[in-house]
Symmetry: C2
Subunit: 210 residues, 2 copies
């Protein structure tokens, strides 16, 4: 028992710490919803606090600033999206190019589910980057680079499968995919249809150097 008493505490964290972490996670979740639908400038902290049931004065207990909050929400989204990409793009049960199509299908389902109100947080914040604190720019760029690498790895597998020409620059091709993809997500929101996602993907696939 003495030994146990001096080792780091095991099991669930103390109740107050746990509740703090739960509230912080809940604020990030609610922030994600708000920011993905409305962007940073239009998203009031007040509404997010109200939804989570946190008193207005307590925000700075959880985050140093609205900027720090935005960064946490963005980081959370980036991790969620990277996991999603890994689920689809590394799935060895499908040929590499089909996996990209599977990701597109998932994106179509996701946009339908939220009635085209939620686009891509990274695209949204990228669009309003000049109005945001400057720290968002490198964070957003790094996220796109991370997506690019993940897709490039998948495209390199397509080369091994002889579905893509060997002299293709997979990093550049992957970069281009995400560049256009943000336009497709934005247009899908505007026309409230998955057609722009599908049409963009069809165009991307048709243009691949085989």
């Amino acid at each position: 028992m003495n030994k146990l008493a001096i080792t780091p505490r095991r099991g669930r964290p103390p109740k107050i710490l746990r509740e703090n972490q739960d509230t912080k996670a809940e604020l990030i979740r609610s922030g994600l919803e708000q920011l993905t639908e409305n962007g940073f400038a239009s998203s009031g902290i007040d509404l997010i606090l109200k939804k989570v049931g946190v008193p207005k004065g307590s925000f700075y207990h959880y985050f140093a600033s609205k900027e720090a909050f935005g960064q946490a929400v963005l980081e959370n989204y980036a991790n969620y999206f990277a996991n999603k990409l890994d689920n689809y793009l590394v799935d060895q049960s499908y040929p590499a190019l089909i996996r990209i199509g599977n990701f597109v299908e998932d994106a179509k389902t996701g946009m339908l589910k939220y009635h085209f109100k939620r686009g891509c947080l990274v695209g949204n914040l990228g669009q309003e980057v000049d109005s945001l604190p400057e720290s968002f720019r490198p964070q957003l760029i790094a996220i796109f680079v991370c997506w690019q690498h993940r897709l490039a790895t998948c495209l390199k597998e397509a080369q091994i499968e002889q579905q893509l020409s060997n002299d293709t620059d997979c990093e550049l091709l992957a970069d281009n995919f995400w560049i256009g993809w943000e336009g497709a997500v934005s247009r899908a929101k505007l026309v409230q249809s998955t057609n722009p996602l599908q049409n963009y993907f069809d165009f991307f696939m048709a243009g691949l150097p085989r």
Copy 2:
């Protein structure tokens, strides 16, 4: 003289009407600058009025609402952009596909000129469309359709010049160009470089069915 007195007034409009029209045009010009840089939600009417030197109470003398003002700014931008497209895409001194490249060069120059702070007003408002008055959605969609038709006409000329496969659906291809283009403009703003515009165009050209 009697005859002249009852015909519609010729020459310049009366001074007060003229000044009103000048102020209205100046408000639209200033609004275009603001909305293109910051979007609709973040653009305060107050700042626009202050820049143009119009007293705060006079805004509704010129526009029925912020919505009507936004629509006027958007219409103005759409006309400006349609003229720009006509200048490039109908220019018979170049082959059809080269004309598209000339437009892209102009866009690169334009984004550099404003230090990547100004993107595309249609893309910006499209991104925040769910936060805007519902009248913006059909207006934005109609503008994209107008651009699509203009580009499709140019692509059909490329078919006549045998630079594009005859079984290409030029309207669909043109639609896809603009879908991805908005992503490229957004990314160019983010990374503060013309590379996304050039890379996107190169990818578009390389993928054309010949």
